[in-house]
């Protein structure tokens, strides 16, 4: 007679042989369903939800266009109350202008201008999440115009520049090369037990 442990091992071996993904070593493999319950759907039917933009090259940006001048009108009506005049910071949120060059100082100022590596992030985020009390209500033209306004306030495009699916990904952002991959573990502490240096503090 097989012990329970042996049965589990056999089940695991069978599951692995069948190409299943091993979930954890501790638990018996739970029956992977042979029948699925998803309903086929077309990409066209998904389109209203398909809002993500690949921000590194703008793939997924929709038709539409806007300028900083147009953006100021939208901004003053729908954004200023929280973000302040000329995006200088307001009742709820800090500045969205400035900070370029601050990352090598002791005070890093994070704004779309200083921080975003790719300009289409402005489109993707503004469309999906702003304004906070009415997300996903802006037209694509309004979102392009707001992106243009914030970029122009940061001195990254001229006020007259038209932002659209072609031009927005081409805006050169100062922090384009500011990101590095995760290489942790980056600290190798030792398990000292006696006569150790005391717990240090950051000076």
């Amino acid at each position: 007679m097989r012990s329970p442990r042996t049965s589990v091992m056999v089940a695991l071996i069978v599951a692995v042989a069948a190409g299943a993904t091993m979930v954890t070593a501790q638990e018996p493999q739970i029956g992977r369903p042979s029948v699925g319950f998803g309903t086929p759907i077309t990409e066209q039917a998904i389109a209203p939800w398909n809002i993500d933009v690949r921000t590194s090259d703008g793939k997924g940006l929709p038709p539409g266009r806007g300028t900083a001048t147009e953006g100021k009108t939208v901004y003053d009506a729908k954004c200023l109350a929280c973000h302040g005049d000329k995006a200088a910071g307001g009742s709820v949120y800090g500045a969205m202008v400035g900070g370029i060059g601050s990352f090598t100082t002791k005070t890093r100022v994070l704004t779309p201008g200083s921080m975003y590596p790719y300009a289409p992030i402005l489109f993707d985020y503004t469309r999906r999440a702003m304004p906070m009390d009415k997300p996903l209500t802006l037209t694509n033209d309004e979102v392009y115009a707001l992106a243009a306004y914030i970029l122009a306030l940061n001195g990254l495009i001229p006020e007259t520049a038209v932002m659209d699916a072609e031009s927005l990904p081409k805006v050169k952002m100062p922090n384009r090369d500011g990101f590095i991959p995760d290489t942790r573990p980056d600290v190798k502490a030792t398990r000292c037990m006696t006569d150790c240096p005391p717990i240090g503090v950051i000076k």
């Binding site: 501790q26 699925g36 921080m115 037990m193």
Partner: protein, 437 residues
């Protein structure tokens, strides 16, 4: 005696009956007299016990019937536990209450499971109230057949249940260079642990048929922020869950009802709540939530990106900040250890600021990417002390100090991934305070 690798030291220090009674009384007092208002009003015990206890009396509640069972109800904790609450962030206070967070009272948590009503929250646009009958999950992108699921469809798959912690990457960010937090709820409360029930994401992706060349998966929530992250497909296929259950019941709304992603061991925000869309792609989208936010400042003005794992960490939850020891004697130091890279292999405790360490008892169950309890019986001599814990995980990684991390990362602004050894000072009068700086 079968509750873990009991060391010879802890075994020999097992207290005699009087000490044990005194300790239990201390625990009861902790529950009964702590101040309800303000996070700082935590007392460990009111007074030292007298050598001989008073004669017992029969209490009123034993001499009368209790409350009858109502026809139906959702049970709630005793009114005497009303101080045990989640608390909105109050060290760093937001000027709005939609992109905000609340913290778990870890000093009051018994065992590794955080009750659903005390599980920490982090939202980017408030908590939606989603009708499960209308909720849909869609899978599309680089798949052979895009699919849509109702909640009823999803319930037809075999259910998988696993215990995992969740921790916000920003847990502790107020306390790198100054002791800003008073209590462990404020310094570590963006941490909780639950048994999650759901479906391996791999099953659903296989059903849709992942195309060759797919390398990343975008997950998006149905909340007002449409919160979204790009996740490497290897992790998704390995151990990620689409969860609808939490500690035996449906997810709470503030934790993603009716459906969320659960990525074991990784920073909390990637476990997208209110999940409604999965898109298979060949490269990350570099969303705002993975560039301008949830990245770590590094030297020379750089930012570390896609730093997903929550590295090995531990903290003493009792005695902890805001508590007061009534006098010299034996105390049980206890706390939690966890690692996003595996299970807990050992926890050490110091009472002299890190000069000398002793192994703590690590209590079973010891599970992968799960809160793990430790305890250490400590005889306080009444002199000023500095207590701290240090965890080691199954990869051999040893929890570092803040000072050690500051040598390789830039500690400037809102610095995430604060997994440092966290000392509490105990003054001669028994007051326990944050001693991180």
């Amino acid at each position: 005696m079968s509750d873990g690798p009991v060391t010879s030291k802890s075994r020999s220090e097992r207290p005699r009956a009087s000490g044990r009674r005194a300790f239990l009384r201390g625990g009861v007092t902790l529950a009964g007299t702590a101040l309800a208002a303000g996070a700082a009003g935590i007392r460990l015990a009111a007074a030292q016990s007298s050598p001989v206890a008073q004669p017992l009396e029969i209490p009123e509640w034993t001499k009368t019937p209790g409350r009858p069972i109502p026809p139906e109800m959702y049970g709630m904790p005793s009114k005497y536990e009303s101080r045990v609450m989640r608390r909105r962030t109050d060290v760093f206070v937001n000027r709005q209450n939609l992109s905000d967070w609340s913290m778990s009272p870890l000093h009051s948590q018994h065992g590794i499971v955080t009750p659903n009503g005390l599980f920490f929250e982090r939202h980017h646009a408030g908590t939606p109230s989603i009708d499960p009958g209308k909720h849909r999950l869609v899978i599309h992108g680089m798949v052979k057949q895009p699919l849509v699921f109702t909640m009823d469809n999803l319930m037809r798959y075999p259910a998988v249940s696993r215990f995992h912690f969740l921790e916000c990457s920003g847990n502790g960010l107020t306390d790198w260079t100054k002791a800003a937090s008073t209590t462990v709820q404020q310094s570590h409360g963006l941490l909780s642990c639950a048994q999650w029930t759901g479906i391996p994401v791999s099953w659903l992706l296989d059903e849709a048929g992942v195309q060759s060349g797919a390398k990343w998966v975008l997950f998006e929530g149905a909340d007002g922020s449409s919160h979204t992250r790009s996740i490497p497909i290897d992790k998704v296929m390995n151990d990620c869950l689409i969860a609808y259950g939490m500690n035996g019941e449906a997810l709470r709304e503030e934790n993603g009802y009716p459906l969320r992603l659960l990525i074991p061991g990784w920073e909390g925000n990637v476990s997208v709540k209110w999940l409604h869309r999965i898109k298979i792609v060949d490269q990350p989208a570099h969303f705002r939530s993975e560039t301008a936010r949830y990245t770590d400042p590094m030297p020379e003005g750089k930012w570390r990106q896609f730093s997903f794992e929550m590295e090995c960490k531990s903290v003493i939850t009792s005695p902890s900040g805001g508590m007061k020891l009534p006098g010299p004697g034996v105390y049980e130091i206890r706390g939690f250890a966890w690692s996003g890279n595996g299970s807990i292999a050992a926890v050490d405790v110091t009472a002299d600021g890190g000069r000398n360490w002793q192994p703590a008892v690590v209590e079973h169950p010891i599970m992968d990417r799960c809160l793990t309890q430790f305890r250490y019986r400590w005889r306080w001599d009444g002199r000023p002390a500095k207590i701290a814990s240090r965890a080691v995980d199954s990869t051999g990684y040893v929890q570092p100090t803040a000072e050690e991390i500051s040598r390789v990362r830039a500690i400037v602004g809102f610095v995430q991934h604060h997994n440092v050894i966290f000392p509490w000072s105990v003054s001669a009068n028994g007051e326990v305070k944050n001693a991180i700086a």
